[in-house]
Amino acid sequence: MKTKNTPIKQAFFNKMASEFDTHVRQSIPLYGAFISELQANIRKHFYEATILDVCGSTGLFGKTLFDNGFKGSYINVDGSPKMISLAKQISPQMKYPRLFNNLGGFMSSWTDESGQQINQIDTKVITFDIALELLGFQFFTKTREPEILELKASVEDTGVCIFCEKFSNKDTELWQRNENLKDDLWKSKYFTQDEIAKKKQNVLVDMGEYCYDIKEFEGLLQKHFKHVTGIYHAGNFAAYACSDIAVTELFESDISLIHNIYNSK
């Protein structure tokens, strides 16, 4: 039964856990480049930070950080048993003692499609230096303000929250043009037209109702943080670094994508 904040398509995430990270990078324009820059900035400015990653899937973000010399701690919370199982395989505790993969729900508990109970993890118990929401909220909630406040409550007063999502747009023509651009100039490098069409049915239709309007989302961030910096923008995808301390210079980026055509063919 679908309750508030129960992820959609749980079976889908479990099924594709092993190929998830590649799939995301092939589906979202320059997402891999954005993640690499974000990690570089974290290593540069927050190399001993404590990081919370809600909906962190296989924990690859943390693993890559540690593989490149990160000295902090990384806590991944994800609601997919398969994702967490895989995360523990690729980042064994003996080799990654400060990387903690944990099965749990953000602001919700539920019984998943396989009958497994997923318990809520209260992320406010500890306060982190950085909290990440990378393509998470769009899969389980129509609201954003409670989730933004919860994530903010999970970081220190000087902490930074990173939000990255696929957004909806009241300008539906612009939104559709962005989708077409993404399909024609980015996804077509990795998928056939049939695969692109099938993926739309598998994930994107359901996800659509959880995507939040980009302008309203930016308004919420500005309402709740003193500093909000756009750090990635590719069509209907965007990311923001938010804090009550100045963050602009900490998340400098070379990715200028707003009107980019995805390193066209």
Partner: protein, 136 residues
Amino acid sequence: MNFIDTEKSHEIAATLIASISLSEQKYGGSYNLDLEQPVTGYMVSLGGKKHTLEYETLSKVDVHAVAAWVKSHVDVLGTTYFGQPLYLGSWYDQSTGKVFFDLSVNESDKAHALSEAVIWKQLAIYDVENKQIIRL
């Protein structure tokens, strides 16, 4: 939502402070809101400045400020840390003379407690049953 009155928060604060007695070589304690202490397992302090109250010396500890800190953590104590119960803790650091009030978790498994301590960059865990500090 949990609630405690001012009198109760002062009682808890006073208990936390009293668990530090240098003459008796007592360097801290862990309590829940019912002033119960764990009797087994291993205590691990959790990270986060937001949840930590720190004093340069024992003489500077202010019971009213500690009581306010207790009150501000009532709701958090109603939750768990990855399924484990949470406690309010006091700790006197013998090497620096500083006093800390923070949240701690009671882990039943020693190896897990040590892993937690590594993640949260703690220097030690506390063996409740044997009343021993285990340094990392």
